[in-house]
């Protein structure tokens, strides 16, 4: 059956064949009827079709039409309009249409403001195919809510003058889960606000009658009619949009990229994330982020992402408010976020809101759901590498909800099955993670959240060295609403990241090397909306860091290793911020913020003092000063500026520009010489200055085909000061004076990001291309060494060309297919080129820093998703994902390393998944 799309705002349906055939002969109507009254619509139809309407205008005076028609017949229009209402129509041979109200129906739509409403009975005129996916009850509920007029505030006989504020939560009707980032438009698009991370919104309007339209990606658009008497509350339920074959849902006013003031921000919800095929069919937050323009990773497997020419440590990864230092599992192939407890992600690349700070490049904000407030539900999945189980539901109905998830791997078999010749058959790898989140609503104005997160990894490559790392976080959030216009969020928590590397062979060299970062933080965030034109945010935050930069101890009885422990480092990072988003007019929005951050490097610690004007080396140490506990050794501080603006050049196009400055007080250095890189984190101290970044960016956004196709071009230029790179021959591990082995470099990064994205329809997906460069320079001879003769040299993550293509095609309700293609330039590498003998001892001659590149990266994945069934009413949903990772079998290098073998030095590239990897996973939702 071929279906012609009929685009309707309210819901979509498909006509049966007979009707379709008839539709070919009858006169049809095409056009956009947003905001039409019934009278105006009928007048238009009369003109076009020659029909005449007979009805009582009083019945329709509160009905507002929201329709976009494409060659719809009169019957189709009327069926659509009156579906589930108590209206009837009949058409006689004289092309006369009589509209009547069914006598058995007690109530009708309100004739006046705020009339009492009760549920209309079902009337079911069976011209439309029964739509299983939209249960009648839910549709009725939505319909009812949309057509009802709500009184906000204390009802008075006459509507007063001035303005009032309506506020409340927007939630998923099905699960009770708050909807983040939903946009509310009042009266056309004159005024718009978005819901915050709790689904909370606040909208200030002139007193009187308003139409509020709500849109959110993946949710069915809805609207509410209100009469605003004074400040009041309106909670709104939205329903999930069930993607169907029959018609595309098109929103006239969606939360489009052209409307949002923020630039360089990507929002994805978990539905989008799930559509991207990834290794072993495991939906993966980071892998999807990597397909966005401007985001790359150093290799197939690396601890994180590089955003706009930033290093991996310049990203602040927040998981429900907790800072995650290593967001990956299993050589970086999985992100450490269980997709079943991810609600959505926001990636800020340029206009970073002033409430965030402490990292130069980006903020990746990953949110967790509150949990289903209405019933218990869950997901269980099983794949070749991982199994997972998550449940959510109300502990106390409508007050306390729980989300819990565990995920574990049994991947040892995979590595054990490697051919013996690969030298990795004696390897092992496994990981697990667990999440817990409890939301408790104390009352209308106070909500508490407690979250706990733990992830652990253990892997061994070859026979000797075992790597282990864990992330552990917990925090408590208290959201308090003062009144409709202001609210606050207080967060307190602890994060810990630690790793250790051990060689447990029973030898004299058996060792264990440990590293740990701990941080305790408090954040308070206030928002205040004096009117719709201004959205003020202010707050303060403090993070106390404690780093254990290295403990080295013997492992095994024969070990002759001597214990050595580097002293802990302490630091306190505090910040205060104030910002405002101001809508100058409908077209121009400006957002400005100021953040002032202060970092104290604290005792107890020894500080080497170096001779002034000389490079920092052991030879130039003058003396050592000891600072006792709590003493401030060094204070760094700086103001940070965040400015961005949007100007709508047309209905479908906008330009955005932003300027940001940021400070970073914690730095990472990667020890890249070994097979598996080891990272060292370091606080700014008496010698190591904070990194300072400035970025300007400019973007043009244009939507086509009723916002179905989004395109954007963004340009950016970044200046980075005091980026740490290592000196020639640096020793990074267990170095008590790391300032002698690092250099502060200047960096510049620039690039162009192109995105073409089709958001809806049977065929959707995106194509992104980024051209970017990141160059560093060390030209200060006083630092001891010039790198590349003081010229600009590429950073180790400089990858000029990045192309990502993701496409999903839905054949039917049950079958869909996804393809994912990734190409990027290989990352730079410093190669050993030759061996020389000087003064009797051999040495390695290396190329210039990062002069060469490892082979380019190219990978194609495909997956096929089979839904077991697709009835919303069914209790259990299951689906299969089958696919192939790395369809072309290209041997992309995981790492390139050199080792000494039989007196010569050999280079190797290790590809972990250097062949086609078929996978199959089974997921069940209950």
């Amino acid at each position: 059956m071929r279906c012609r799309p009929i685009r309707l705002l309210l819901y979509s349906a498909c006509l049966v064949l007979s009707l379709q055939a008839r539709a070919q002969l009858e006169p049809t109507v095409t056009g956009n009827f947003e905001g039409y009254t019934f009278g105006r619509l009928t007048a238009r139809i009369e003109t076009v079709t020659g029909y005449r309407f007979y009805y009582d205008p009083a019945d329709f005076d509160s009905l507002s039409i929201e329709m976009t028609l494409n060659r719809a017949t009169v019957r189709q229009i009327l069926d659509e309009l009156f579906q589930n209402t108590d209206f009837h129509y009949s058409i006689d041979s004289g092309k006369r249409i009589f509209i009547t109200r069914h006598v058995t129906i007690v109530t009708t739509l309100p004739a006046r403001f705020g009339g009492p409403v009760s549920a209309p009975g079902s009337k079911g005129q069976a011209v439309f195919a029964t739509d299983d996916e939209q249960p009648e009850k839910a549709r009725l509920k939505q319909m009812l809510a949309e057509n009802r007029v709500y009184d906000i505030g204390a009802r008075t006989a006459t509507v007063g003058q001035g303005k009032a504020t309506v506020a409340g939560y927007v939630k998923d009707d099905n699960t009770g889960e708050p909807i983040v980032g939903a946009t509310l438009f009042a009266d056309g698009s004159a005024t718009s606000v978005a819901t915050d991370q709790f689904g909370y919104y606040s909208l200030t309007l002139p007193k009187g009658r308003h139409l509020i339209r709500l849109t959110d990606a993946g949710m069915r658009d809805t609207r509410r009619q209100i009469v605003l008497y004074s400040d009041g509350r309106l909670n709104i339920d939205m329903q999930e949009a069930v993607t169907t074959l029959r018609a595309a849902i098109v929103s006239a006013e969606k939360t489009s990229n052209t409307k949002s003031v923020q630039m360089g921000v990507n929002r994805l919800n978990i539905r989008t994330i799930r559509q991207v095929p990834v290794v072993f069919g495991e939906a993966d937050v980071l892998k999807v982020v990597l397909t966005l323009p401007g985001v790359t990773s150093v290799g197939e497997a690396s601890n994180g992402i590089n955003v706009r020419g930033g290093s991996t440590d310049q990203n602040l990864t927040l998981f429900d408010g907790a800072t995650i230092y290593n967001p990956t599992h299993l050589f970086g192939f999985f992100s450490s976020f269980n997709p079943d407890v991810v609600k959505g992600i926001e990636l800020y690349k340029s206009a970073i809101p002033e409430k965030f700070g402490g990292r130069l490049s980006s903020v990746l904000d990953i949110s967790m759901p509150d949990g289903n407030t209405k019933k218990w539900s869950g997901v269980a999945g099983i794949g070749p590498l991982t199994s997972k189980l998550s449940i959510e539901g109300p502990i106390q109905k409508d007050r306390t909800t729980l989300v819990a998830a565990v995920r574990t791997t049994y991947s040892d078999w995979l590595l054990n099955s490697l051919p013996a010749s690969s030298a990795y058959n004696n390897s092992s790898a496994n990981f697990y993670d667990a999440n817990l989140r409890i939301t408790h609503r104390i009352d209308e104005k106070n909500t508490l959240n407690i979250m706990g997160y733990y992830s652990a990894d253990r892997f061994r490559l070859g026979n000797d060295t075992t790597y282990k790392y864990t992330n552990a976080s917990t925090n408590l959030k208290w959201k308090h609403i003062f009144n409709n216009r202001s609210n606050a969020l207080f967060t307190a928590g602890i994060d810990r990241y630690q790793y250790n590397i051990s060689d447990s062979r029973d030898s004299t060299n058996g060792f264990r090397l440990g590293f740990q970062i701990g941080q305790t933080y408090f954040r308070s965030e206030f928002t205040f909306a004096p009117d719709n034109k201004n959205q003020v945010s202010y707050g303060l935050s403090a993070v106390y860091y404690k780093l254990h930069p290295g403990t080295y101890s013997p492992e095994g009885e024969k070990s002759l290793i001597v214990d050595s422990t580097l002293p802990a480092e302490q630091g306190l990072e505090s910040a205060i911020y104030l910002g405002d988003q101001y809508s100058v007019n409908n077209r121009l929005t400006i957002s400005g913020g100021l953040r002032y951050s202060v970092f104290n490097y604290l005792g107890p610690h020894d500080v080497y003092n170096y001779a002034p004007g000389l490079p920092r080396e052991l030879n130039t140490v003058i003396d050592t000063a000891f600072y006792s506990g709590g003493k401030i050794i060094k204070t760094w501080s700086a103001p940070e500026v965040r400015i961005s603006a949007r100007y709508a050049v047309s209905e479908n196009g906008s330009i955005k520009a932003s300027y940001n400055t940021l400070e970073q007080y914690i730095h990472m250095l990667s020890n890249t010489v070994s097979v598996s890189p080891t990272d060292i984190w370091k606080l700014s101290d008496a010698h190591i200055r904070p990194q300072h970044g400035r970025q300007v960016s400019f973007g043009y956004y244009r939507n086509f085909l009723s916002n179905k196709v989004e395109t954007s071009v963004e340009l950016y230029y970044k200046w980075i000061d005091n980026y740490l790179d290592y000196k020639s021959g640096a020793n990074l591990l267990l170095n008590p004076h790391i300032e002698t082995d690092v250099l502060e470099t200047k960096g510049k990064a620039y690039g162009v990001e192109l995105l073409l994205r089709k958001t809806e329809g049977k065929f959707n997906g995106w194509l992104s291309y980024t051209w970017s460069r990141t160059l560093l320079r060390q030209d200060d001879p006083l630092a001891g060494q010039l790198i590349s003769n003081g010229n600009w040299y590429p950073a180790s993550f400089d990858k000029p060309h990045n192309l990502n293509f993701i496409a999903n095609y839905r054949f039917s309700h049950r079958y869909s297919m996804s393809v994912n293609m990734v190409y990027s330039t290989g990352r730079p590498i410093t190669l050993p080129l030759a061996v020389f003998d000087l003064d009797g001892s051999p040495g390695l001659y290396y190329s210039q820093r990062n002069q060469y590149r490892i082979p380019d990266y190219f990978r194609t994945d495909a997956s096929f998703i089979i839904d077991g069934n697709n009835r919303l009413t069914q209790k259990l949903h299951n689906f299969w994902t089958v696919g192939v990772y790395n369809l072309t079998g290209r041997k992309n290098p995981y790492s390139v390393y050199f080792i000494q073998e039989n007196g010569t030095i050999k280079g190797y590239q290790l590809s972990i998944f250097g062949t086609q990897i078929p996978f199959i996973t089974y997921t069940i939702r209950f």
Partner: protein, 393 residues
Amino acid sequence: MKHRNYHILLIRRLRHSWAALALVSAILLAACRQAYAPPAITNPNHYLVVDGFINIGANTVTTFKLTRTRNLGDSTVQGIPELGARVAIVGAGGGSWPLSEIIGTGRYASDPLTLDPTRKYSIAIVAFNGEVYNSDPVPCLVTPPIDSIFWRQPFDLNIYAGTHDPTGNTRYYRYTYNETWEHDAQLMTVWGVANGRIYAQDSTNQTQQCWTTDTSASILLASSAAESSAVIDSFPLLTVPNGDARVTKVYSILVHQYALTLDAYNYWQIIAKTSQDVGTLFDVQPTQLTGNIRCTSDPSLPAIGFITATTEQQQRILIRESSFTNWQHNQPAYGCDTTSIAPGYPDPFVYNYPDTNYAPWYFISGGPLVLASSVCLNCLLLGGTNVRPPFMP
């Protein structure tokens, strides 16, 4: 009740999926390790290495050793000597002093020269293949004399150098040393074996006292840059662990001292960190060498080495084990086995015992010939020379 039903269903479904999973796991997944050898590495990377300094001392010989680097996969132990090159010292204001090739060694030596230390000098090299290399002109830096070489032995033996520059110009130094130690045979004998006969050794072919000489293997750099005066008061040259076999009787060390400019010091510092060890967790990060020798005929070709113009200072000290406290005497790793055989008859000096691990120790009059492990009787088997160096007592 409802929940329990779901649960049962779930388990059944999971079992079902395990069956499907078994099919998949039959397909092997492979991590593979491939040789990584891009052209940058496999190209013949035979870059010129220049080792030496311009000696500006009075009536001194300047020696340079020219070698070529070898590829990573090349197992040649030492550098490939650059033969047939033309090398000369060039004065900045004119003048050229050629170095003549010591045939077959890659070494090039000047005549004894007395160069004016107020001028600048450079090195000009035309390689055998015609590549032209020139160093930057470098100023002369006279090495101050070594003040003292001294040792301390709290437990291990530490040897230090001290120097100072009264003019305050020289702040950076490089040291090399030659250490010589006496190591004697474990067992005394007068007998040697040659051509199947036992003979009595004399001082020219004795195997009882041996002396081994070794040169420093690490690059030793000292700086007084952070000091208020240009004084190096105790620069640690080396540590000999307590009980080390190098100090069983007499130990001698000859220390060479060379002044460096700051640039040369920085260069040598990088060389010092250059490691041939790769692939382990504790390796240093890659180094980058930028010397003061350039290929002028092809600027893309690197050259390794840093030219300085200086003088050499040296000083030798002797250290006797008898002056140590609590120095351990470790048994050697090898044991001394003995056996006895019937002496040759009728000529007792005929010796044809097949096991060369044994050698004649002593005769028992009227009895057998006692043999002992060769390594215990002949110190030359552990290296060195049996000719007493003139400086050794």
